[in-house]
C-alpha cells in the first residue's frame, strides 16, 4: 500500500502545503475537460493515483478526459501539469514499474522506441498499404484492474465519481489517440478507424488469469474450465469477465479483489501481426486440355496429375498480390477430361492477406496477359477485382442457370435422319438422375430431376455423332448419354433404342452474367446475340469473318456486352481472339494442341487457325 494520503495538500502556487507545483501549468490544466471541479481537486486525485502506481496517461484518463487531442501531450508534460515537482520522474527512473491500471500499455508500449519497433516490424512484413487501422487485444485482467481503480476512486472521492464509470476513456482508445498520429507518421500511411490493412497488437500478461480467479468463487457457474477447443480452453474471456463485473456491486468487489489495483510484478508482452483484408479477383477461364483437373489432384500425398486449372490461373495472381492463402471458386466445375470452351467459366479467387492490393485496370490487364502467356491449356478473360458482396453472384447462378455442351457420342447402330430429327425435336425433357456412381461415394444418394432444354444431333460418321445440348445446371451429361446402368432415365440409349456412349465432352457456355465482360464478346449466330447490349467501341473496325476456320479476331458490333466505361478504361489488347469459334464442326479435330500460346503475347493480329479444317 502507498503512503497515507496527506489530506492538506492544496495545489496552487509555489510551496503551498508540503508540495510545490509549477504555476505555469494552471493554464494547461484549464484546457482539460475533467470530472473534477477545481484544479486543487484534480491535483488531489492525480496525486492519489500517482501514489497507487498510475502512469500519467492513466491519471488523465481516470480524471475523465475524453478529448483525443489532450492525449497528444507527452507523459512528461502531463506529470508536470498534474504532479508536484517532488514527484516528477527523473530520466533515470522512468518505466521502472508498469502502471497499475494499464499494465504499461500507455507507457512503454506508447513511446517512441516502441513506435520504432512497431514500424520496423510492419515494414519487415512488406505490405503495400496507404492507410491502416490499429487493433489491440488487451489482457483480460485489465478490466478487473480498471474496476479496482474506479472502486478505489469512488471510495476516496465519492462525489466526483458518481455515475462516471462508463465515461472513463478506455485504454484502447487512449492508445489510439496518443499513438495513432506518431505511428502513422512513421509508417507514412493514413491512420483510420476502419481500413483494410490492420496492425494487430496482442498484449499478453502472465498474471491475467491469476488476477481473475476470485471470480471463480463468486460465479462458479459462469466460470468453469472450458472443454471445447473453440474457446481455446479459456476460462476468462473479455466478454464473461466484463459481464460478471457489471453485475458485481462495488462493496462485494472490494471484498474479493484488492482496490486500488496492486502494482504489477510482471510486464506485458506485445506481439504484432499485420493483416490485409481479403481481395477478390474474378474472371472467366477457358480450358483446352483433357488431362487437367480443376484443383490439384493428390492421392496419398502423390500427384495423380501434373498441374491444375487452379494452379495455372492462380500462380501469376499470387505472384502479383502475394497473399498468404488463396481459394479458387467457380460457377460449377468440369471433369478432368472435359474442355471448357466458349467464353469460359466464371471464377473468383479469394486472396487472403494479400501484401499488394492496389492495381490499375491496366495492371490487371497485364496480369491477365501474363497468365495467358504462361500456358496454352488454360486461358483467362475478363479478369478484374471485385468486392466480397459481388462474389455471391457467382454461386447464385450455379443452380438456376443453363449450360451448353457439345458431347461426342457413339451409338451401336448407324444413326438415321429420323433419329437426328427425333433428337432435335426434343424440348424441355425432364431427366431423373440417380446420383452417378462415380460421385456416389461423396454425394447424397438421391434421384434428382434435371431438364434438358434442347438438343441438336449431328452425324459425324456412321456410328458417331455430335450432340449439342442446353441443359439446366447440375445435369450430369455423361450419365445422360451412357445411362449409368440405367440410373439416369430417360437416357440416350433409351431415346435411340440402342446402346450409346460418350467419348468426349466440351462445355460450350456457362450462362452466368457475372463478372462483367471486359474483353470483347464475339457474336454468336444464335439467339444469344439478342441478349448482348450493343456498345459503341473503337474495336468495331472490321466486318465479321464468316470463315469458321479463321481465328475470331474481329468483333461484331453487337457482340460486346460491357459497360462502356470499362471498355474505355481498359483498352485491353484482345486476348480472346484465340478463342474457339462457335462453328460446330471445329471441335472434333485434335482438340488439345490447337492453340498456339505464343501468339497471344507476341502478336494479337495473328490468325492462327484454332479449329481444324473440316
Amino acid at each position: 500500500m502507498a503512503a497515507p494520503m496527506p489530506m492538506d495538500i492544496c495545489g496552487v502556487g509555489v510551496g503551498a502545503g508540503s508540495f510545490t507545483y509549477d504555476e505555469q501549468t494552471d493554464l494547461k490544466l484549464k484546457e482539460f475537460d475533467l470530472f473534477t471541479s477545481s484544479h486543487e481537486e484534480s491535483r488531489q486525485v492525480a496525486l492519489h493515483l500517482h501514489s497507487v502506481g498510475c502512469c500519467p496517461r492513466c491519471i488523465l484518463r481516470l480524471l475523465g478526459e475524453s478529448h483525443p487531442s489532450s492525449y497528444r501531450a507527452t507523459p512528461q508534460d502531463l506529470e508536470r501539469i498534474f504532479l508536484p515537482k517532488e514527484k516528477w520522474s527523473s530520466s533515470s527512473d522512468t518505466h521502472t514499474n508498469p502502471c497499475s491500471t494499464c499494465l504499461g500499455i500507455l507507457q512503454q508500449y506508447a513511446d517512441k522506441s516502441f513506435f520504432k519497433k512497431l514500424a520496423g516490424k510492419v515494414k519487415q512484413e512488406n505490405f503495400e498499404f496507404h492507410d491502416h487501422q490499429c487493433s489491440l487485444i488487451l489482457p483480460v485482467s485489465l478490466i478487473v484492474r480498471q474496476k479496482a481503480a474506479f472502486v478505489d476512486l469512488k471510495r476516496k472521492f465519492g462525489d466526483i465519481y458518481v455515475g462516471k464509470e462508463e465515461r472513463i476513456s478506455s485504454v484502447k482508445d487512449v492508445w489510439k489517440w496518443a499513438c495513432g498520429p506518431p505511428v502513422a507518421d512513421l509508417l507514412q500511411s493514413k491512420f483510420q478507424n476502419r481500413a483494410s490493412f490492420d496492425i494487430l497488437m496482442t498484449f499478453t500478461y502472465a498474471d491475467s488469469d491469476k488476477e481473475c480467479t476470485f471470480l471463480l468463487d463468486i460465479y462458479p457457474d459462469t466460470f468453469y474450465r472450458r472443454k471445447q477447443r473453440k474457446f481455446g480452453f479459456e476460462t476468462f474471456t473479455r466478454a464473461n469477465v466484463a459481464n460478471a463485473l457489471a453485475y458485481t456491486d462495488n462493496s462485494k468487489f472490494e471484498d474479493c479483489s484488492p482496490c486500488p489495483p496492486p502494482l504489477p510484478t510482471v510486464e506485458c508482452e506485445c506481439t504484432v501481426t499485420c493483416n490485409h483484408e481479403a481481395v477478390f479477383i474474378a474472371g472467366r477461364y477457358q480450358k483446352y486440355s483433357r488431362v487437367l483437373s480443376q484443383t490439384p489432384w493428390v492421392i496419398d500425398g502423390k500427384r495423380a496429375m501434373e498441374g491444375s486449372v487452379q494452379e495455372l490461373v492462380c500462380d501469376q495472381i499470387l505472384q502479383t498480390f502475394r497473399p498468404t492463402e488463396h481459394r479458387l471458386s467457380s460457377s460449377g466445375r468440369e471433369d478432368v477430361d472435359v474442355r471448357m470452351l466458349g467464353l469460359g467459366r466464371p471464377f473468383v479467387v479469394e486472396l487472403i492477406n494479400p501484401h499488394c492490393t492496389r492495381f490499375s485496370v491496366e495492371e490487371i490487364a497485364a496480369l491477365q496477359k501474363r497468365i495467358n502467356a504462361s500456358t496454352s491449356d488454360v486461358q483467362v478473360r475478363d479478369l478484374q477485382t471485385v468486392s466480397r458482396v459481388e462474389t455471391e453472384k457467382l454461386k447464385e447462378g450455379e443452380i438456376d442457370k443453363t449450360k451448353k455442351y457439345s458431347a461426342f457420342c457413339w451409338c451401336e447402330r448407324e444413326l438415321t435422319d429420323a433419329d437426328l430429327e427425333k433428337l432435335s425435336a426434343i424440348k424441355d425433357l425432364t431427366l431423373h438422375q440417380k446420383t452417378p456412381l462415380r460421385v456416389l461415394h461423396r454425394r447424397t444418394a438421391a434421384t434428382r430431376d434435371r431438364v434438358v432444354h434442347s438438343m441438336r444431333a449431328e452425324k459425324l460418321s456412321p456410328n458417331r455423332f455430335k450432340l449439342q445440348l442446353t441443359t439446366q445446371a447440375g445435369t450430369y451429361i455423361k450419365e445422360f448419354v451412357h445411362g449409368d446402368f440405367g440410373r439416369t432415365s430417360p437416357n440416350m440409349s433409351e431415346l435411340l433404342g440402342a446402346e450409346c456412349d460418350i467419348t468426349d465432352l466440351d462445355v460450350e457456355a456457362v450462362d452466368v452474367d457475372w463478372p462483367p465482360y471486359i474483353d470483347p464478346v464475339p457474336a454468336e449466330d444464335s439467339e444469344d446475340t439478342a441478349k448482348s447490349q450493343a456498345v459503341t467501341s473503337d474495336t468495331v473496325n472490321a466486318e465479321p469473318v464468316p470463315d469458321a476456320t479463321d481465328c475470331r479476331q474481329t468483333q461484331d458490333p453487337c457482340g460486346v456486352t460491357a459497360t462502356s466505361d470499362t471498355v474505355n478504361a481498359a483498352p485491353v489488347p484482345d486476348v480472346t481472339d484465340r478463342r474457339q469459334t462457335q462453328d460446330p464442326c471445329d471441335v472434333n479435330t485434335a482438340p488439345d494442341k490447337t492453340i498456339d500460346c505464343d501468339v497471344v503475347a507476341a502478336n494479337t493480329n495473328s490468325t492462327t487457325p484454332l479449329c481444324g479444317s473440316e
Binding site: L440, H441, G486, E499
Partner: protein, 179 residues
C-alpha cells in the same frame, strides 16, 4: 453386341462404361451351388455394383426371368432409408447376405447375394417391373445393387473376391471337367 450392319460400315466400338471405369471381381459357386457365379464391378471410388455373372445358369442357360424379389426372410432390401453423404441408416450387409430371389419361367428359383460387406446403397428397382433386364444387360441396366464398403475395409473386402484372370481359369477348368 447386336450389330447387324455391314462390317465395312461399322466402327470399332470404344471401350464401354464398364471397361473404362470398373474392375471386375467374382464370387463363384456361391453357397456351394454349382456355377452360381456373381460379379462385382468396383469403381476406384470404392462403389461396388453387384451383378449376375454371365456364367450363372440364369444367363448361360438363357432362362427367362419372370420375377425378382428383394424381400428376403422378412426384411425387404428395398426398405432401405438413408440420409446424407455418409448414407446413414443404410443396411450394413455381409458378403453372404441374401440380396434377392429370382424366379424363372421354368419355375427354377435362384438366390443372389451381396458378395461384399458394406452399406447397401441401392437396389435396382427397375428389375421389379422389367425382370428381363437381368439377362438382357447383366452388366448394365440389369445390375442388382450398389454396395459401398467402408473406407478402411475396401481393399480387404475386394481381396476376398476372385480376380478376372482366376475367374477365366476357373471357367476353363469347368469346361474341361465337363468334357
Amino acid at each position: 453386341m447386336a450389330e447387324t450392319q455391314q462390317s465395312t460400315n461399322l466402327e470399332k466400338p470404344p471401350p464401354g462404361v464398364v471397361e473404362r471405369y470398373f474392375k471386375k471381381h467374382f464370387r463363384i459357386d456361391l453357397k456351394g451351388k454349382k456355377y452360381e457365379d456373381q460379379v462385382v464391378l468396383t469403381h476406384s471410388n470404392r462403389v461396388c455394383v453387384v451383378c449376375i455373372a454371365e456364367s450363372h445358369p440364369i444367363c448361360s442357360e438363357k432362362k427367362e426371368v419372370i420375377k425378382v424379389d428383394f424381400e428376403v426372410k422378412g426384411s425387404n432390401r428395398m426398405d432401405n432409408k438413408m440420409s446424407g453423404k455418409a448414407k446413414r441408416g443404410a443396411q450394413w450387409l455381409g458378403p453372404t447376405a441374401v440380396l434377392c430371389e429370382v424366379t424363372c419361367s421354368d419355375e427354377s428359383k435362384y438366390t443372389l447375394y451381396c458378395c461384399v460387406k458394406g452399406q447397401l446403397v441401392e437396389v435396382n428397382e427397375n428389375l421389379i417391373t422389367k425382370p428381363c433386364l437381368l439377362t438382357e444387360k447383366p452388366l448394365g441396366a440389369g445390375y442388382l445393387a450398389v454396395m459401398l464398403p467402408g473406407l478402411k475395409h475396401f481393399d480387404k473386402e475386394i481381396a476376398q473376391l476372385m480376380c478376372e484372370e482366376k475367374y477365366k481359369k476357373a471357367l476353363e477348368e469347368r469346361s474341361t471337367n465337363v468334357s
